[in-house]
Assembly symmetry: C2
Homo-oligomer: 343 residues x 2
């Protein structure tokens, strides 16, 4: 099934750079895909100013929803949920909930997006908690879906099991990987390794017929073609990914510092730094790819807070893909069939 019309609600005000990044990305997306329609949530004046000079073929495919407020990047999720009823983020999610839009994309405050999306959209039947998932690049340019990246820091084995099912659907539908290999993140590959939670989840997955569970993988495996889906709880996933971000930053900073040592290293660095940056753009998943919030009754894609227009465009395309592939419905069907087979 292909959709003749895709409607995405955009949180125009979200992210470190708000409209400066989101509006150019929206324009580019509209130019590239004639089936795309946007509901642009945010300050009407800013949006109009940017969009009114555009051709009517573009303007006809946007609706502006003025919002009097927005969620600050450092705002507490609980406060945003309680107080920001007319924020661009919340309105965009509401337009998904009431069926006007097929998906929502935001570069805003992750914690607030999680809290408001969970509140507004609710989880799918059979899913206790949503998860944040992103595709990491691996050594052979294969995609590896890692979840949860921080939606839930207290996960039990049942939640991890559901994450495995959701990740499996995403890998199959979005990346087109047939019968995706699902692994659990652990401190070793042997069955006896790990904490109680991960050991018990392994048992659940071994016994689940609809899932191609392949065992444990270690931290260093997540950048290799070890599996298509790697499951962990949000505490570990968040810290592991951020530690990688920290290392990437350190290496770039260190390269810059080394480059100042003498004329020779200055020359080396002039040559090496662009190469290094090129590689990092490829390996820094958080900056480059959108992260999807899955397990909800609607599609939500999160772009990085300091995303560039290109990265925000990438997140929009991710949302288009999830709409086309009807990801929430597929997750619902899969979890139903897995749970039925299990019982």
């Amino acid at each position: 099934m292909t959709f003749s019309r895709l409607t995405i609600a955009l949180d125009i005000m979200g992210g470190d750079n708000g409209p400066h990044v989101t509006l150019p990305a929206a324009l580019k997306a509209l130019q590239e895909n004639p089936q795309l329609y946007f509901i642009l949530c945010g300050d009407e004046k800013i949006i109009s100013q940017f969009m009114s000079p555009q051709k009517s073929a573009i303007r006809d495919r946007i609706e502006i929803q003025h919002c009097s407020d927005h969620v600050a990047m450092d705002e507490r999720p609980s406060s945003a949920l309680r107080n920001k009823k007319d924020s661009s983020m919340r309105r965009a999610l509401e337009r998904v909930e009431n069926g006007d839009a097929d998906a929502c994309v935001s570069a805003g405050n992750t914690g607030a997006l999680l809290a408001i999306a969970y509140h507004v959209l609710k989880t799918l039947p059979g899913i206790d908690r949503p998860a944040l998932v992103s595709a990491l690049p691996t050594d052979d340019h294969h995609k590896l879906f890692l979840l949860d990246l921080g939606a839930n820091v207290n996960c039990d084995s049942e939640t991890l099991f559901q994450y495995a099912v959701m990740g499996s659907v995403l890998a199959e539908e979005v990346a087109g990987i047939e019968n995706p290999r699902v692994a659990l993140l652990n401190v070793g590959e042997e069955q006896i390794k790990g904490n109680d939670q991960v050991k018990f989840t392994a048992q659940l997955l071994q016994d689940a017929p609809g899932i191609n569970y392949t065992g444990f993988v270690e931290g260093n495996d997540i950048f290799t073609n070890c599996a298509d889906v790697v499951v962990t709880d949000g505490f570990v996933g968040n810290i592991a990914l951020k530690a990688c971000e920290g290392l990437a930053t350190l290496v770039l900073e260190e390269s810059k510092r080394v480059s100042q040592e003498n004329w020779w290293t200055k020359l080396l660095a002039k040559i090496a730094l662009p190469l290094l940056r090129k590689i990092y753009r490829r390996v820094n998943p958080d900056q480059y790819n959108g992260a999807s919030l899955i397990g909800l009754r609607g599609i939500v894609v999160k772009s990085h807070g300091n995303a560039s227009s290109d990265a925000f465009l990438f997140a929009i395309k991710e949302a288009e893909q999830e709409i086309q592939r009807q990801v929430p419905k597929k997750i619902k069907d899969k979890i139903e069939s897995v749970l039925m087979e299990r019982s």
Copy 2:
């Protein structure tokens, strides 16, 4: 207090390259420090062959303890503990336990070393579990001690609290940092963030007078000067550090691959790769630094399995430092005083 004689028991057979790496490192350490004595545990023939051509000033400071066995790198810890009674690893630890040596250094199987050291040496009074700790380099070449790196994957808040005390002693004694800042690894810096375990540990640390607890830090902070000691459980610590190792490997591989694309990138890479490797040697803590197993009634330093002679020498020096500074005694004193103030 300075020691006129330092005796270290070395597991000569441990590590991917065994005696080829450990013996040259031992020789260099003896040449550099005339106060150093070694008990070399391993295959007598191999050790003698290497050591007999040396000057008597060197030979007089070694004792060879022949061991008929060694622990394989992929051996199960439980099996090594049960079956490898005459292994070089176990004998080296026993020489610490019976007081012949002041410390043990091994590049062998980490799991087996943890299990055998715990069994042979036992923990200090007031300490439930030992921890594996390493110093990470940060953006301003400051040392940050991260623990636990995988000794215990099921840690409760009390264990994390003890880790904070032990890390604090190590930072003060080994790195000479006065009143070291101790932080907890978490998914956010705000007090409301995190799982139950980390929140409860924060409460314990806030109330502990002898510890300079500074709050939560995130994954990307561990390569910055955010704190002197960062505490987490062995599951998270192991996965975070290995994920960084995986990223480092990916970037190096990707640089090599990019370098094959055309003559220009080939040239760039020829220049960039050595710079990149130089930086990685500095930022790859696991490869470069030894990791200490602390909380035991004796000093145990673990060198990386595929350590070079230089890295193994570094681990020996780490052990020398811990002997000089009487780390186990200081940990014992500190935990006693903290627990007394707490009760």
